[in-house]
Amino acid sequence: MNVEIDGDDLRTGLLGLVVALAEIVKETLKLQALRRLEGGSLTERELERLGKALMELEEAFERIKVELGVSDAVRSVRGGLDRAVDDLVGSLVGAERS
């Protein structure tokens, strides 16, 4: 069977994958920021800067996804990853139960 690869599809898929992975790193940064917030180790000024940086990062992501036309591709990669993790967790839990 021949697999036909459309140049545009490949570009969108690859960029979508890269942006999706970068988004996951961004989510981790957000979690870390919340830990700092709860930990109380940062001054109000530092927290303001951290919050602002994250907000700008979030906006930049939204802009990049629109500009590259990869919003759907990113959603699909992340949906696929979520499902894969669900399946993995499900099989581990299932193995434990049986």
Binding site: L47, E48, M55
Partner: protein
């Protein structure tokens, strides 16, 4: 040497002569196992796959519901044909439940083929004999019981609204975000989202536990199936298969009504079904 001398295959009436692609054959398609008494011979008529004649092969106190077929699996290119077969298989199970109050269903496409030394009937009888006690026990355990599917879903938007209204931490963070400069307000909103998510997960877990415990209270057995989401706005919290004594079905129905009475929750109760999940 064969076991034919010791076993006896009982049938009623002549083999069906209706012209069908899958009529007759050297193998036996097995629908399920029913309780039987030696000497009892039953013919359900042409109710099987493609109208095949379904009859019971009895070995001591158990019987196998079968029809004659070629020694090859049912395989079709068309989904609609397969759907017809599966429906027919299910129909035979329903008939068996109505008649014997108990049936141990076999998977679709369970076929006993002849081997070099034995006919399919002989092979079937050898199997029924070898598994007799265990099969009879399982059939007895299913007597008067049927399977019900209980699926409970929730509308995330409704649950989120409830959490936002009821959890003080969410309201506090909301107020704080309004009073703060943009960076801090953003962090407050992130925190608020996290609290919302955590509370929502907690509520969904509680919903599952409640449904599961209550279903178990009126069922013989309950198995937890994987939750499925169909892409609609609803998310599934619990997908249970319940083995229920038919006289306790009302309790399950009442439970379903009660769950559905809560805002943002929907329930699907399907049954009575043959006990496919408990065989």
């Amino acid at each position: 040497m064969t076991d034919t001398a010791r076993y006896e295959v009982r049938r009623v009436g002549p083999a069906s002569t209706r012209g069908r692609a899958f009529s007759g054959g050297s193998a036996r398609y097995v629908y399920g196992i029913v309780p039987a008494d030696a000497g009892e011979a039953v013919d359900l008529g042409g109710v099987g796959l493609d109208g095949s004649r379904v009859y019971v092969v009895v070995r001591r106190r158990i019987g196998a519901l079968v029809h004659d077929c070629p020694a090859e699996p049912y395989d079709s290119g068309g989904d609609s044909v397969v759907a017809q077969w599966v429906l027919a298989h299910n129909r035979v199970m329903q008939l068996a439940m109505a008649r014997w109050c108990s049936v141990l269903p076999m998977t679709f496409n369970t076929i006993v083929a002849p081997s070099a030394e034995k006919t399919a009937d002989e092979n079937l009888l050898v199997w029924l004999e070898a598994e007799h006690d265990s099969l009879r026990e399982r059939v007895d355990n299913l007597e008067g019981k049927a399977e019900f599917g209980l699926q409970v879903s929730y509308a995330p938007a409704v649950i989120l609204r409830q959490v936002a209204e009821e959890v003080p931490e969410v309201r506090r963070l909301e107020e704080e975000a309004k009073a703060k400069t943009s960076g801090l307000a953003y962090l407050c909103r992130l925190e608020m989202e996290r609290v919302l998510k955590r509370e929502m997960e907690q509520r969904v877990r509680e919903l599952f536990t409640t449904v599961y415990e209550r279903a178990r209270a009126c069922s013989d057995r309950v198995t937890v199936e994987k939750v499925k989401n169909d892409g609609s706005d609803l998310r599934m919290a619990a997908n249970l298969s319940c083995l229920v004594a038919l006289d306790r079905y009302r309790e399950l129905e009442a439970l379903a009504d009660e769950i559905a009475g809560h805002e943002g929750q929907t329930v699907r109760l399907v049954g009575p079904l043959p006990p496919y999940s408990f065989c």
